[in-house]
Symmetry: C2
Subunit: 280 residues, 2 copies
Amino acid sequence: MSGKVALICGGGRFPIVAARAAQARGSEVFLLGLRGIAGKDVEEFPHAWVGVGQLGGAMREISSRDIQDVCFIGGLGRPELSDLRLDWGALKRLPAILRLFRGGDDHALKGVIKLFEREGFRIVGVDSIAPDLLAWEGAMNAVAFPPDARDDLVFAAKCLADLSAYDCGQALVVSKRRIIAIEAVEGTDAMIDRVAQLRETGRWRASGPSGLLVKAPKTGQDLRADLPAIGPETVAAAARAGLRGLAVASGRVLILDRANVAAQAERAGLFLHGFAAEGA
Amino acid sequence: MSGKVALICGGGRFPIVAARAAQARGSEVFLLGLRGIAGKDVEEFPHAWVGVGQLGGAMREISSRDIQDVCFIGGLGRPELSDLRLDWGALKRLPAILRLFRGGDDHALKGVIKLFEREGFRIVGVDSIAPDLLAWEGAMNAVAFPPDARDDLVFAAKCLADLSAYDCGQALVVSKRRIIAIEAVEGTDAMIDRVAQLRETGRWRASGPSGLLVKAPKTGQDLRADLPAIGPETVAAAARAGLRGLAVASGRVLILDRANVAAQAERAGLFLHGFAAEGA
């Protein structure tokens, strides 16, 4: 892929990394930083700032640059209606926007994508502008995925798939078919930190490296929008919790700085494994 | 029901409350305190102490008193094999016992029940010896269940039912079809405390009383064994988290000191509602 692409940038470091990767692949990038959410480094690229509620402004900025491809990247959090300074473009679409604020996170993102598509934009996924950011299938470092963890992986992937219907839970920690923790609003890293506490307090007793982090997008999640992500903090949390390793859905989970994260996991004795759908 | 009943007592205050209730209903009770788990107040009743791994001893104590009915009550935690001082009775049944240590909590309890049944005991539920400890259907205090919470209740109850297959998650907090937290190993009260933190840190933003605790046993859970329970701490946590109220499965959730817990919730402005299967 080349040509022009607009990145609508949420929080975290992914937008910048993706923008660099897209440039390296020959794309001309334009970054739209979400005010109060995206980082200041958006300004290292051709950019504009826009409020979360200012869809009209965002669409105008993109159209005026003759860009058709739009990529959403970075954490959006979950905006509260009261935080949004709605512009006229947003007000015209208010019923659609209000619908975004019901239901889970995925629901909200699907709605935003629909609004952009209705205006004639093409929404592209990170996989087309920066495929290097995605987990691949199989071992991503030299710590082999232990065969006896396969059963837990399949079990966990099925559980996450069943939770998809409730628009919640992109990650869990499992050990011998026992689910130690499930993520909801707290986020993956906080969920792993909870596992560390459960071990410290003896609420979960396990000796030596135990437990597996399994992370995957929701079934039916629009992969052009909010891809689940891991990064150095995730690996650090997993090491503190004494896990055996991390298994993430290949092609469907972003890894910030994949080479370094894989090496960091390896130093901690953790495998970093990419699995196809439902642990297969 | 009357006659003799042996209570195999785990932790917490339920065993004592249940023993008193059973006596009040005319039963002759004999308490078997699980060493290191049950509280000292077991000794206020005819009793014996037995280790978790000492099934043989437990069964002998019960048979020698010509008792056939056995009721499991109180939190078992999840014993670690290394903590168990296995007796000969347990060693003879070792393959069956080892199976208990795979899979989730419910799995372990079902196994223990099977072992007792195989030896000719009849396992009775708390509902038959102390029905007053169970949630009833409908309002348990004067704070009405708000009609607009019905949708969340049905949504949450379905989610818990779907999680049953994974032997995890007896409670969650939901708000407008968004699942804020799901319980795994940490326990209900810790899960609710997490919700309080998510609000404090702005990770979950909601104004005024928001969110609903929903608690139910797993589908297919053996109700003669580990009934989910709430108590004063649960209500206190719900008040700290600023929830709207608590909804528990009627007839299938234990409430420690129901009258006081209902009044405590009422003072905090929280409804305490018993629902039939899947929020119906």
